[in-house]
Amino acid sequence: MALGIEAGLGDSVLTTKLDEIINWGRQYSLWPMVFGTACCAIEFMSAAASQHDISRFGAEVVRFSPRQADLMLVCGTISYKQAPILKRIYDQMPDPRWVVAMGACASSGGIYDNYCTVQGIDTVIPVDVFISGCPPRPEAVLDALMKIQEKIQTESVLVDRHKDFKGILD
């Protein structure tokens, strides 16, 4: 039984663009796959906890299963040892998928400019939003989430994302 304004609409039909309705759905039900490796993961925990409450943005269903997720949050340093795992998890996620590089390390290697740290995960997988900070505050995570939502709004189901990306492991 319908309860809202749809009660008055009865069996009538709503017309909209396919992109609009799909994007609207995707925007507000992002399922994050948290690839937490370091300090940033602790700040993500804060973003998920009650004070900052990530569920206000419809992204609280944190799944560690890549098959059920469409938003990858890379929270922390990615070393060369970790990179193949990051790539494999990314490859396992179904399309469309979005990637956030949280913090200085994931974005550029941060303070670790040395032999074992990948200098930015965009050399391994395509990234949609970068968050600055070491570590970023939880508000910044929410800001990135909204940026992703804005981005989704402009996309089309007919266009493949990042079709010709080539990283160091490809």
């Binding site: 700040e43 925990m45 670790y112 032999y115 074992c116 505050r137």
Partner: protein, 571 residues
């Protein structure tokens, strides 16, 4: 105490001359003598060095006063009952020939020697499983050698399968293909991590299962190896403070304090009374924070999500106080060599008291859910038991060691910063199971709060920085108006605090156990070598001893209960 150790060493090893560096006794021995000396150190009741804290190596390639042999291997040992700290040094001219392994004497030597091999390429003969640990298996060369370029990264294309290792581990337990055929079953290999919610970071736990029972387990770490030690060699002493924040990022300020303390003790620098009390207050406050995160995550693993809100919300609330004081939430970089970045703000006592009350309430609420809870008891009591002998052998320290009944706490046994004048207890467990580890942490929260309250009453007024131009930046009016001040400022910033040449080890009781720093200084403004003795690394090294024979679900809660923090584990 140290005198009697020197006497004992001289009686047992007349050819060796012990020397004393800070509160550590140091002996130099020949590489051939390593097996014999180390065995005596461990087994002679008069010596009884039950803890092998750390093994590291030094590459003297570019050191100003070059010794004859390029490498030197250093073993750090502790007799916790008598408060003896001993470093055994042995020169290694040919890394390919190396030294004899001591892994049969101490469990902790297994991983420690693997790390030295990985980073310096020194072979440990007769080591059971000498392969890389922090760097990936496709890595070539040894990064901590002085002739390895810090920027030379090497791409890893695929993860190590670990199949050989798990089969060897199974075989060592007497389980091979034919046994499996006899009992008509098949072994299942299950991988937890490195990207798995239960691993709390990037650790790989590889298990061989019979049903749900873990028959064998091998673990792989190094996924968060960020080159702390190599980076530190290329920074000045004060520039390393932000790097130490990111070792154990759940209690960042404690690492800062441990690091600054190590340098100050070598410089012979007495920090001001107020700075000492500040460090005690903040150490204990961060110990509470660390335990809150550990317990919150551990209880979530068990399915108790409510505990997470009760405990983590208080941590979240504490960030208000921490960011008001330090300007950052997680990584505060609040200490400097010679004091603190700045004093407490006005009215901090009220804020602190409010935080403490809130934490007590949160912890008590959580305890109400846990203490009398049959499900928690059934789940945790008697699972993943760690005996005191195993714990000592694998180099466990801190709450994990204390849960087995060993009451070793550096704050009590070798007090610094006036810890002897505080009234607090060291909680110990009786069984060494998951339950004990959880409860020891709960109790430590209350003990730390007790210390903070006492310190708040006693804290004197005064400066928080030493008045010593060798380490302290001059006041800004002198920098802007006087050439001496300007020169002093620039020298300290560009060249760093000048630390006299030498080698020393200093330890500190961090939230997870003994956090040690082994320095080699060449007299310049940055360390020639800096090795961290991370408590997590050794806790993880003995992880398989705890979970073999237990259920797979217990492995998950056990990992939570020993509180592995990736930044400190892999550095």
């Amino acid at each position: 105490m140290t005198d009697s150790l020197t006497d004992k060493l001289q009686v047992l090893f007349p050819e060796i001359e012990p020397r004393t560096v800070l509160d550590c006794t140091v002996i130099d021995i020949d590489p051939q003598a390593v097996p014999q000396v180390m065995e005596r150190l461990k087994t002679y009741p008069d010596l009884g060095f039950s803890l092998l804290l750390d093994i590291t190596a030094i590459d003297y390639l570019t050191y100003p006063q070059k010794p004859a042999a390029r490498f030197c291997v250093v073993y750090t040992l502790r007799n916790w009952e008598r408060n003896w700290l001993l470093q055994v040094r042995t020169p290694v001219a040919d890394p390919e020939h190396g030294v004899e392994s001591v892994a049969h004497l101490w469990g902790s030597a297994d991983w420690a020697e693997r790390e030295v091999y990985d980073q310096y390429g020194i072979i440990f003969r007769n080591h059971p499983d000498l392969r890389r640990i922090l760097n990936h298996w496709q890595f070539e060369g040894h990064p901590l050698r002085k002739d390895y370029d810090i920027f030379k990264g090497q791409i890893c294309y695929e993860a190590d399968s670990l199949e050989k290792e798990i089969r060897a581990r199974l075989a060592s337990k007497g389980i091979d293909e034919s046994t499996m055929q006899d009992i008509n079953t098949e072994m299942m290999f299950l991988n937890l991590g490195p990207s798995h919610p239960a691993t709390h970071g990037a650790i790989r736990i590889f298990t061989a299962l019979d049903g749900e029972t873990i028959m064998a387990n091998v673990n792989e770490i190094g996924y968060l190896h960020r080159g702390f030690e190599k980076t530190a060699e290329n920074r000045t002493y004060n520039q390393i403070i932000p790097l130490t924040d990111r070792l154990n990022y759940c209690s960042a300020l404690m690492n800062n304090i441990g690091y600054a303390k190590a340098i100050e003790s070598w410089l012979g620098l007495e920090i001001t009374e107020r700075a000492m009390f500040m460090r005690v207050v903040l150490s204990e406050f961060f110990r509470v924070q660390d335990h809150l995160v550990c317990l919150a995550a551990n209880l979530v693993d068990m399915g108790g999500l409510t505990n997470y809100w009760y405990l983590y919300n208080e941590k979240e609330a504490s960030y208000d106080f921490i960011s008001r004081l330090t300007g950052a939430r997680l990584t505060s970089s609040f200490t400097r060599i010679g004091g603190m970045y700045r004093d407490f703000y006005e009215g901090w006592e009220d804020d602190m008291e409010q935080q403490l009350k809130a934490i007590e309430k949160g912890v008590n609420d959580s305890l109400k859910l846990v203490l009398q809870n049959r499900i928690v008891h059934d789940r945790t009591q008697g699972t993943c038991v760690l005996s005191p002998e195993t714990a000592l052998s694998y180099g466990y320290t801190g709450p994990n060691l204390r849960s087995t009944g060993v009451s070793f706490d550096i704050r009590k046994d070798n007090p610094y910063y006036n810890y002897e004048s505080f009234d607090f207890c060291v909680p110990v467990g009786s069984h060494g199971d998951v339950y004990d580890r959880i409860m020891v942490r709960f109790e430590e929260i209350f003990e730390s709060i007790k210390i903070i309250r006492q310190a708040m009453k006693m804290i004197p007024e005064g400066p928080v920085f030493v008045d010593d131009h060798r380490v302290a930046l001059p006041p800004k009016d002198q920098v802007y108006n006087k050439i001496e001040g300007l020169a002093n400022h620039f020298k300290l910033i560009f060249e760093g605090v000048k630390v006299p040449a030498g080698e020393w080890y200093d330890s500190y009781e961090a939230a997870n156990g003994e956090l040690g720093f082994h320095f080699v200084a060449d007299g310049s403004g940055g360390p020639y070598k800096l090795k961290v003795r991370p408590p997590c690394f050794y806790a993880m090294g003995g992880f398989h001893e705890m979970i073999e024979g237990e259920m797979i679900a217990d492995a998950v809660i056990n990992l939570g209960s020993i509180n592995i923090i990736g930044g400190e584990l892999d550095r």
